[in-house]
Amino acid sequence: MSDTLILTRRWAKKDPSLAGYRADGGYRSLDKALGMKPEDIVEQVKVSNLRGRGGAGFPTGIKWTFLPKDVRPRYLCVNADESEPGTCKDRYVCEFDPHMLLEGIAITCYALDIHRAYIYIRGEFAKQARALDAALAEARAAGILGEKLAGRDFPLEVHVARGAGAYICGEESALMESVEGKKGYPRFKPPFPAIVGLWGKPTIINNVETLANVPWIIEHGGAAYAALGTGKSGGTRLFCVSGNVKRPGIYEKPVHYNLKKLILEDCGGTPSGLPVKAVIPGGSSSPVLTGAEIDVSMEIDALKAAGSMSGSGGVIVMDESVCMVRALSRISMFYAEESCGQCTPCRQGTPWMEKIIEKIEHGDGTVADVDLLEQLPNNIMGQTICALGDAAAMPVQSFVKKFKKEFLDHVERRGCPQGEKAWGVARQTREALIGGVSQ
């Protein structure tokens, strides 16, 4: 398995400046791309097997071909909303190497004949928004962006659009509503954004990490990127590991890296020394895996076959001392809080699930409540405009299925067997390794 680093290779330098990026060969891929036919750039990205890093894992090059041929203007929205619990990677791309992202945006816009792009970043990332604004100012002053794209007769405006606290705005159609200055209500699909997107025009929406890979793909070719991965997934990706591990952090690994190896070797296992009880492998919406199920490739299709999903790469590790009812209770509170309220099954269903879990957690639950909790998610899954309903339902289904005994124990003992220790015994902050850099 290759140990090639793409996204994190400059992080240790702590130099996000244009000069630093250029000294390491930055923006040469843009020059190369400007000498290529746009359709050849799209072809290289298709060949690379780059798949969306935001959660859905859709093949990026194929998404790009969905744009109708003769409708203009077209827009690009870069998704830096990063709000799925457990996910904390795009922020470091913005902070430590913003020009890698801007170069990816520039190449993408040139390939797709797009002249205006918005980087939509969650409101809580103030520092990262400043880093992007500073990088944009440098790129404009250097003539890379603006009236001309690196000297070519191709105007390109790129702006930062800050969110203001709403998980739902990471959903691509809610994101566009928010860029348009509205509340983030997801839109019906179809039509898909590539056909009817921002201000009703064809729009491509890609995640930060996805686009930051594009310069490397152009420099080395799509085949070289594909070769770093396996099957239909190419390249490396950023895995965010948090929770009960000795060394939490951001680890850049080939897309098919082994989950158990990541947790036990790279992250040093649990600080308590207790066995791993549960792992959420791809952000809090992905179905939970038991400690016995983690010897698995993290590649998109492999994790799907294992009954979960690689999602956004947010790996949350819990040791034997953590109460699964407490963990699910907190996850369900999140989805109830973040439901936008547009669709009834989600608006009503998410707080209902939250209340039942809380009831069980605090010792007021019955066996019938546990049964209800097994059934209820079925009435939300697939019944809503966007995927938030599914995202709320999947953890409930999987936690109850895999840790049913703990839920029944809470009913029988009329409360949490762990009492005050429901969040486990290893509750302390630990030094993190962010792309090899100690934080």
């Binding site: 969650r122 606290g165 509205k182 983030g184 201000w199 929770g243 939490p248 030094e431």
Partner: protein, 177 residues
Amino acid sequence: MSHHDQAAAERAPQDIAELPKDLVARFDAGIPAILARYPSDHQEAAMLPALRLAQEIFGWLPPAAQKLAADRIGAPAIRADEVATFYVMYHTRPVGRHVVEVCTNVSCSLTGGFDIYEHLKKRLGVENGGTTADGRITLRQVECLGSCATAPAMLVDEEMHERLTVEAVDRILGGLK
């Protein structure tokens, strides 16, 4: 709502004319740079940054500040209300001089985030969303801040503090005037 909040809400300016002229002038000075980021036929898209600017200047978003933001970008006032009440970072009620927002989601709680939140409630003598009697600090429990690997985390006046301990939190609080 505490007495502090309630009193301030009752004094809330309703119309643009009630806002201090110098602050309105500061707002107007900031608006052109925001509008320049959007196509000339879609200026109403500037609603989020316009409300953010208004909140920075007025401290929170009373109805008059919402109307001002909507007016200057050519949008109806109801749109400002819709947006201000949808996103959690907009304050449609008065807040303290500082806003402390603690994440208690899973990765943070596994590393002590929930304990920190409980400590803050006790130390400040407020519940979620409450403001200290002296108007110094508003405390809020918030959702995942995207700081999971460097958990636990909190925002203080929208700036992130990470790898927190109870001691570190006390030090940070001590620095808030």
